[in-house]
């Protein structure tokens, strides 16, 4: 037991850097950074409250049709599915790609201890993502329905166990996945591609399930009668998407009678049992998927033989830098999944969700837009620009260097080459995303070639200042002390700050564009946008030049 507690404590400390936060708070500069970040987070609160207010009206709607419990189900489903999806990524990097495994495996501890302790730390991360979602649902339901003390006690228990089942599922799936993809030299590539396919498949499956559940619900003549007679009808039908969410909902909706209690018991018990099963499975699954990762097959010179051409390949510095960035992104699974995966998958998922669910709303909305108004074209370009920040390439460009940043700092590289090279790498990936996006919307709506080209051009041009904005944030507070590339990208606050700043930038331009539409000529708007993008590129380039020079000198 001591071993487990010590493992959890250490893992917790290294993951959340408690010791290093306490240490960094001593320095004045870091203290300011934490305060500024805190303020930035506070500024998001109004938006959050607007969403919560919207949830209030959603509750009222369900309440009116006598299906209040459906409101709770939405909350449980949203949080548990999110935990599962994030869980897949977290588990993958935490169990298999964190560097501490190299130290842990040789120690005399069972694999189940390692998995158990990592699981606990992951639970904490998952609370951070799921609490802001589930809490408003539970609080609104409890307050508006004037529920009693037992409701709140049940809620605390349910929230406590909320991440267990989805996280166990994610863990087991990933352990099986890693065990059977632990093959050959190209396993990183195999894994990344299968992971992408897997995620797209999961989403498709979810959407399909939802449609089936919804259709089943509306079929039959007695629907309306049943709706009135059973206040949990919607939950019983739609909850099949993810049964644990259904149990949680039913336990809260009926907390006063035995049915509620038995559902609570069921939820908790299944959680505990599934955790135990996972721990038992980990003994036989975990090391099989892991060991090959650590070995990285010691170099025996089996790689491709190099020839004279390789020895004398000369490239311009900025181009060499871009090339290096791209290789690193494509060869590091976490980067590939986040930067490239996101850029390509978001548009595909967007379109798939409309196709899979047979939902015509997206298509209808797109067709409603007058093609001559240019609104569709501008929205599309705006989407591409937004992806320029979501891809996180700019906001992590220096963080990704990590401990290797000394290379950049001791080489005679011009600052302008630094900027151009890094922007270039982002633009190459943006181009991939743009192609995926254009191909996706071509499925839904018909656009002529000229509009498509113009959309891509505007979008890509706008992505340049977006990437630069990200770089400004990242050079000001690069996250260089990491042992797991996951930290440089997924646990990097710069990504979040970048999205905030990017939203402001894009929001302001979008707002002005909407104001200008129908008032001035469409082509003038395009030209003005080009002007704004070029101007901000130049301004940001100058800012970056000064910042990089300064920061490269003072970073320690």
């Amino acid at each position: 037991m001591d071993k487990i507690i010590s493992l959890i404590k250490t893992d917790f400390n290294t993951t959340y850097g408690l010791s290093s936060i306490a240490y960094s708070f001593k320095s004045k500069k870091n203290r300011w950074q934490i305060i500024v970040f805190g303020l930035a987070m506070l500024s998001l609160i109004p938006t959050y409250f607007m969403i919560v207010k919207g949830l209030g009206s959603m509750y009222d709607v369900y309440s009116q049709i006598g299906q209040r419990s459906m409101f709770l189900l939405s909350g449980f489903l949203a949080s548990q599915i999110l935990i599962f999806v994030f869980g897949l990524l977290y588990v993958m990097s935490k169990y298999y790609f964190s560097n501490d495994m190299g130290h842990l495996v040789p120690l005399p501890i069972k694999p189940s201890y390692i998995i158990g302790s990592k699981f606990v730390t992951l639970m904490i991360s998952e609370y951070l993502t799921s609490l802001p979602i589930i809490l408003p649902f539970i609080i609104i339901y409890g307050l508006k329905g004037k529920e009693g003390v037992l409701y709140w006690i049940y809620s605390i228990l349910l929230i406590g166990f909320l991440p267990v089942i989805p996280l166990v599922l994610a863990s087991v799936l990933i352990m099986i996945f890693m065990k059977y993809t632990n093959i050959g030299a190209r396993k990183d590539l195999i894994r990344t591609i299968s992971a992408l396919i897997f995620i797209v498949g999961m989403i498709y499956f979810q959407l399909k399930m939802q449609t089936i559940a919804r259709k089943a619900l509306l079929e039959g003549e007695d629907f309306l009668i049943n709706l009135i007679s059973d206040s949990n009808l919607l939950v019983k039908k739609l909850g099949l998407i993810f049964p644990p969410s259904q149990w949680a909902t039913l336990s809260l909706a009926n907390y006063l009678n035995f049915g509620g209690f038995s559902n609570l018991l069921f939820f908790v018990l299944i959680g505990v049992i599934s955790f135990i099963i996972m721990i038992i499975l980990s003994e036989s699954l975990f090391f099989d998927g892991l060991i090959g990762n650590i070995e990285v097959s010691a170099s025996k010179g089996k790689g491709k033989k190099i020839d004279n051409k390789d020895l004398s390949r000369e490239t311009r510095p900025y181009w060499a830098l871009a090339k290096k960035e791209i290789i690193m992104i494509f060869k590091t699974p976490v980067y590939l999944l986040n930067a490239v995966g996101g850029v390509i998958m978001i548009p595909i998922i967007l379109v798939m969700s409309s196709v899979a669910s047979g939902d015509q709303s997206l298509k209808a909305a797109l067709e409603m837009m007058d093609p001559n108004s240019g609104l569709l074209l501008l929205a599309g370009a705006g989407f591409i620009v937004a992806i320029g920040m979501i891809n996180s390439i700019g906001t992590t460009t220096f963080s990704r260097e990590g401990k290797s940043l000394w290379i950049q700092r001791t080489l005679p590289i011009k600052v302008s080459d630094q900027i151009i090279g890094r922007v270039l790498s982002s633009m190459l990936i943006q181009t991939l995303g743009t192609v995926a996006f254009l191909a996706s919307i071509a499925f839904v709506v018909r656009l002529n070639v000229f509009d498509m080209v113009l959309m891509a051009f505007l979008g890509l041009l706008g992505s340049i200042p977006m990437t630069q904005l990200g770089m400004v944030i990242d050079i000001l507070r690069p996250m260089l002390e990491w042992d797991n590339p996951q930290k440089a990208m997924k646990q990097n606050l710069n990504v979040l700050i970048g999205m905030g700043v990017g939203t402001l930038f894009l929001g302001a331009i979008g707002f002005l564009t909407i104001k200008a539409i129908n008032k001035i000529d469409l082509y003038l708007i395009y030209i003005l946008l080009i002007g704004v993008f070029v101007l901000s590129t130049i301004i940001l380039f100058n800012i970056l030049e000064k910042l990089i020079k300064k920061q490269f000198e003072i970073l320690e």
């Binding site: 491709k304 190099i306 004398s312 000369e314 510095p317 290789i327 080489l411 005679p412 590289i413 320690e556």
Partner: protein, 240 residues
């Protein structure tokens, strides 16, 4: 060649002086050894020369170029090998070498000539097609050494270069250092291996608590010590 003038660096609001008013003048064609116990300020000093740490006071110049005023010019004639070779482990060895070559703007012919020579010498020619992640510590060290020698540096700075090298590579490295000096270039390195310093260096400086406590040729160091035997005795006596 390399001039450090009254450089100081302190950490933690100036309470801990890592380097305290250090001045050194290292001549062209010289192999200069930098010794000192752990935490004495060796790596801090080296980092200030290569542009990784800005000194609080003092100036550093290489070939009369101030490294903090004209960093690009200075860096283009310096090569640096850190104590811990943290390099891009997702690149192949050859990709890394070409990247470094591009950054120094090394022309094709020179690149090919140097690469063929050093890859052969360090016996990593067969490995450079592999991912750096698969390299051992020593192989990474050899890769970084190769990359540092590509641009034919006028000033070669190494932090603990012998750590992790096999005997043959370590011998080769010493030969390289010797040859560089014969060509009028300068080598500045820190080490804990006193035998290496004793045999190889033209001059030696010993740093302790951020201050230079001894500086000179082996002969000069011997003449100041009570027990005039090996460098080990002198070192132990001075850093007590």
């Amino acid at each position: 060649m390399l001039k450090l003038k009254n450089i100081s660096k302190s950490y933690g609001k100036g309470t801990i002086k890592a380097v305290d008013d250090v001045s050194l003048d290292i001549r062209p064609g010289e192999i200069f050894g930098f010794l000192g116990p752990n935490g004495a300020g060796k790596t801090t000093t080296i980092k200030m020369v290569v542009g990784l740490l800005k000194p609080d006071t003092g100036t550093i110049s290489v070939n009369n170029i101030d490294v903090w005023e004209e960093p690009l010019k200075a860096k283009s004639i310096i090569s640096y090998v850190p104590d811990n070779p943290e390099v891009y482990d997702r690149l192949k060895g050859i990709e890394y070498l070409n990247f470094i070559g591009d950054m120094y703007g090394i022309p094709k012919e020179q690149r090919q000539r140097k690469l063929e020579h050093y890859l052969e010498l360090f016996n990593i020619k067969d490995a450079v097609g592999d991912l750096i992640a698969s390299y051992s510590h020593g192989m990474k060290q050899k890769l970084v050494l190769t990359s540092a020698l590509l641009n034919d540096p006028k000033l070669f700075i190494l932090d603990e270069p012998m750590v992790g090298l096999d005997p043959k590579s370590s011998f080769n490295l010493k030969e390289i250092m010797r040859n560089m000096c014969n060509e009028g270039k300068t080598v500045f390195f820190s080490t804990h291996v006193l035998e290496v310093a004793e045999k190889l260096c033209d001059r030696i400086a010993i740093i302790n608590n951020g201050k230079i406590i001894a500086l000179g040729t082996m002969e000069e160091l011997r003449s100041h010590a009570v027990e005039r035997k090996s460098l080990e005795n002198i070192f132990l006596e001075l850093t007590e």
